[in-house]
């Protein structure tokens, strides 16, 4: 078992090493085979270990594979050790399985790119780091994976580095997430000082024994960890990097900025849920942040004109749902929504990427249109993804996962009804902006002709993900529909269940409400963007539209609050006393250089004259001595 578990992250890392070192020498086919093959093999390893874990669960509920001691200093030891429990199994499954499909898609998507090998090297490094993150047995190793995925995100956003804007977007993503990461490492220090260990299981056990609920240390350390999660998962107030991160290739957006990395925050909070349970204030903050984020991002998505930016805001909004779920203690609902979201959002990004790719990198949805007949596979799969995202009732997986969150939002004992209102409003917005996308892109008259059709390698992942986006929800049905609870059963011993409030409301009423809301959103989108109501045009010209388009002007505010003062301060700092000493040394040196460089005038005979004078002087001195 140890071998299989450690092979899960080791295979992509090994393939990364090979491609990074010899990628230039290898033909594209070999690179593609290595890149796709290693991730697929990891997926198989995950399935093997998953079957083993579920069919014959070990006594402690998880497998641990300790490879070796990474560092050891005094009483502190951190080892390279992986832990597989149902939670990390779900994450591993999504990362490797969706990852393998996205890699397969990339083979065709990137086939004409010069950086083919570089792309697969980065992608494999990403998958490896992400697997380390979710399999890590201690928080330090988790942090290594955490930074690894951050690095890969930076590298892949700036993948087409010849455009300076892509580089800026990459830097923005890196720096903004760094703010969260700093908070997180401080949180790790605090936990280490308090308990002397970073081993997750140990830590959680000690925390629940030594800290009482609501103690200041628990609140501070969980707040710091939350900071890291907010940065990585692009939640308020650190959400500004994700829309710009769309500068990277579409498969990157699908894998990193939709399916896996941005949900690392969800993983971190769920993994350390014992700690968060000790800080009810922080739980409330998480729920409120989630609710606010999902609304703000939902409104912003309404106004975007770039296909990928709509999807990016939608990702922020959907992760908002996951945070909302975690905040109200519906842990397994959050993880369930993560998994379903990974399926349909990866699907949407891949299908959207196919559209952009086939239209010669056209991102503006108002220059698309009528693509339904030209690319049927892409249209159908995109439609399924959109239906799942807007949670169309009963047939789509998104309905089951979102409905669960909304239901707990109403019924959980620690939730407020306002959260449910925010969630249902968000659901309404979701179906409007999603079907706005569908109607504008695929219906109406054609504005840009696609130059060829999507090939097999691009279509297969789309179809597989579409099937999952429809059927993925059936493994976890609501109480009143069917007795299938495979997903939440997984977490029986890992995550606490939701404590229902006293009210005996029927779940059915809420299901009907959310069904009406999502269908209503689709109908409104139909009226506005298919029937082309004049309201849509008036909205597009309003100042509210530009407010939403800029993502609620967060960038402006941050620029004013942080960037400008920092630049101003460094301008002042440039002229302080200490710097004056160093700059004056540099100035003096420069001045002498200026003097001496005058003698180097390029005149040969001038040099000879000085040489002669020099020799005469030296000879005179030597003779006179």
């Amino acid at each position: 078992m140890t071998v299989i578990i450690s092979l899960i992250p080791a295979l992509p890392l090994l393939s990364f090493l090979i491609i990074a070192l010899f990628g230039r020498l290898l033909p594209k086919k070999v690179v593609a085979l290595l890149g796709v093959g290693s991730v697929s093999l990891s997926a198989i390893m995950t399935i093997i270990s998953g079957i083993d874990l579920l069919s014959s669960p070990p006594a402690v509920g998880s497998y641990t594979a300790t490879l070796y001691t990474w560092m050891s200093s005094g009483s502190f030891t951190a080892s390279i050790a992986f832990m597989l429990d149902p939670l990390s199994l779900v994450f591993c499954f999504v990362i490797t399985f969706v990852g393998a499909l996205i890699h397969l898609y990339s083979v065709e998507f990137m086939s004409e790119d010069d950086g083919f090998a570089r792309f697969f090297a980065y992608m494999n490094l990403f998958v490896g780091s992400m697997l380390i993150l979710v399999l890590a047995e201690n928080l330090l190793l988790l942090y290594l994976g955490w930074e690894g995925v951050g690095l890969c995100s930076y590298l892949l956003i700036g993948f087409w580095y010849k455009e300076p804007e892509n580089g800026y977007a990459a830097q923005k993503a890196f720096i903004v997430t760094r703010i969260g990461d700093t908070a997180m490492i401080l949180g790790l220090f605090l936990l280490f000082i308090s308990f002397g260990t970073l081993d997750i299981q140990d830590l959680m056990q000690q925390a629940s024994m030594k800290w009482v609920s609501g103690s200041p240390l628990a609140v501070i350390s969980s707040l710091l960890l939350l900071g890291g999660a907010l940065g990585k998962s692009a939640q308020l107030p650190l959400q500004t990097w994700l829309p710009d991160a769309m500068a990277g290739p579409s498969p990157v957006s699908a894998l990193i900025h939709a399916a896996t990395m941005v949900t690392a925050g969800v993983y971190l909070v769920t993994r350390t849920h014992v700690l968060f349970a000790l800080a009810p204030v922080v739980m409330a903050i998480i729920a409120v942040i989630g609710a606010l984020t999902l609304l703000i991002a939902g409104f912003s998505a309404l106004a975007q004109t770039d296909l990928k930016r709509v999807l990016a805001y939608s990702t922020i909004s959907q992760i908002g749902y996951m945070f909302l779920a975690m905040g109200i203690g519906a842990w397994s609902a959050g993880v369930f929504h993560f998994m379903i979201h990974a399926f349909f959002k990866a699907l949407l990004f891949l299908a959207g990427g196919a559209v952009i790719h086939l239209l010669n990198d056209e991102h503006d949805i108002f220059k698309m249109g009528g693509l339904r007949k030209k690319m049927p596979v892409v249209f159908i799969t995109f439609f399924i993804g959109a239906a799942s995202l807007s949670a169309l009732p009963l047939i789509t997986a998104g309905f089951y996962s979102k409905d669960q969150i909304l239901w707990f939002g109403w019924s959980s004992s620690i939730s407020s009804h306002w959260l449910w209102v925010a969630g249902i409003t968000g659901a309404f917005l979701t179906s409007i902006y999603t079907f706005r996308l569908v109607f504008i892109t695929f219906f109406g008259e054609m504005r840009t002709e696609p130059h060829h059709k999507a090939g097999k390698l691009m279509s297969i992942p789309l179809v597989v993900l579409a099937v999952l986006s429809l059927t993925g929800g059936f493994i976890e049905l609501p109480q009143n529909i069917g007795p299938i609870h495979l997903f939440s059963r997984l977490f029986d011993h890992v995550l606490p269940v939701v404590i229902a409030g006293g009210e005996g409301n029927s779940e059915l009423v809420f299901q009907i409400i959310s069904a009406i809301v999502s269908l209503g959103g689709v109908y409104i989108a139909y009226l506005l963007f298919y029937k082309k109501s004049s309201l849509a045009v008036r909205f597009r010209n309003s100042s509210m539209n530009s407010f939403f388009l800029s993502g609620w002007k967060f960038d402006r505010v941050y620029d004013f609050l942080f960037v400008k003062p920092a630049v101003w301060l460094s301008e002042i700092d440039k002229k302080d006393f200490v710097d004056l000493i160093y700059t004056s040394i540099a100035k003096v040196t420069e001045y002498f250089n200026f003097l001496f460089s005058k003698t180097q005038n390029g005149k040969l005979r001038w040099y000879v004259l000085f040489l002669t004078i020099g020799v005469a002087v030296i000879l005179t001195i030597m003779i006179s001595l």
Binding site: N593, Q600, N601, K603, L604, R605, V608
Partner: protein, 104 residues
């Protein structure tokens, strides 16, 4: 003895002054040859003074070296003429340091 050394020194000075005054690169090469020969002459003078053949042997060495040097020099001059269409040494100032320092 002194008179011969003086002769060699005068010869060296003629070469040096010629090198400094002339701008035509061929004449500069000639001047170098004169300086080289004046130095070689000192070897011969010293050899005859101490009745040793070493000085003359050294002279032949220097002759060989200068022959090699002249051939390289002439080749360079040909290239120079080829590139710049001039034999003026002062016209070749490309190695000049152009760096300007801002006045503080």
């Amino acid at each position: 003895m002194e008179i011969q050394i003086l002769f060699a020194a005068i010869l060296f000075l003629i070469g040096l002054v010629g090198f400094l005054v002339r701008r035509n690169i061929i004449f500069m090469l000639l001047s170098i040859e004169i300086m080289l020969n004046s130095a070689a002459l000192v070897f011969v003078i010293a050899g005859s003074h101490w009745m040793q053949a070493d000085g003359q042997v050294m002279f032949i060495f220097i002759l060989t070296v200068s022959a090699a040097e002249v051939s390289v020099g002439l080749a360079l001059i040909l290239q120079m003429y080829h590139h710049f269409k001039t034999l003026d040494a002062d016209a070749l100032k490309k190695l000049r340091d152009k760096q300007e320092v801002e006045k503080t």
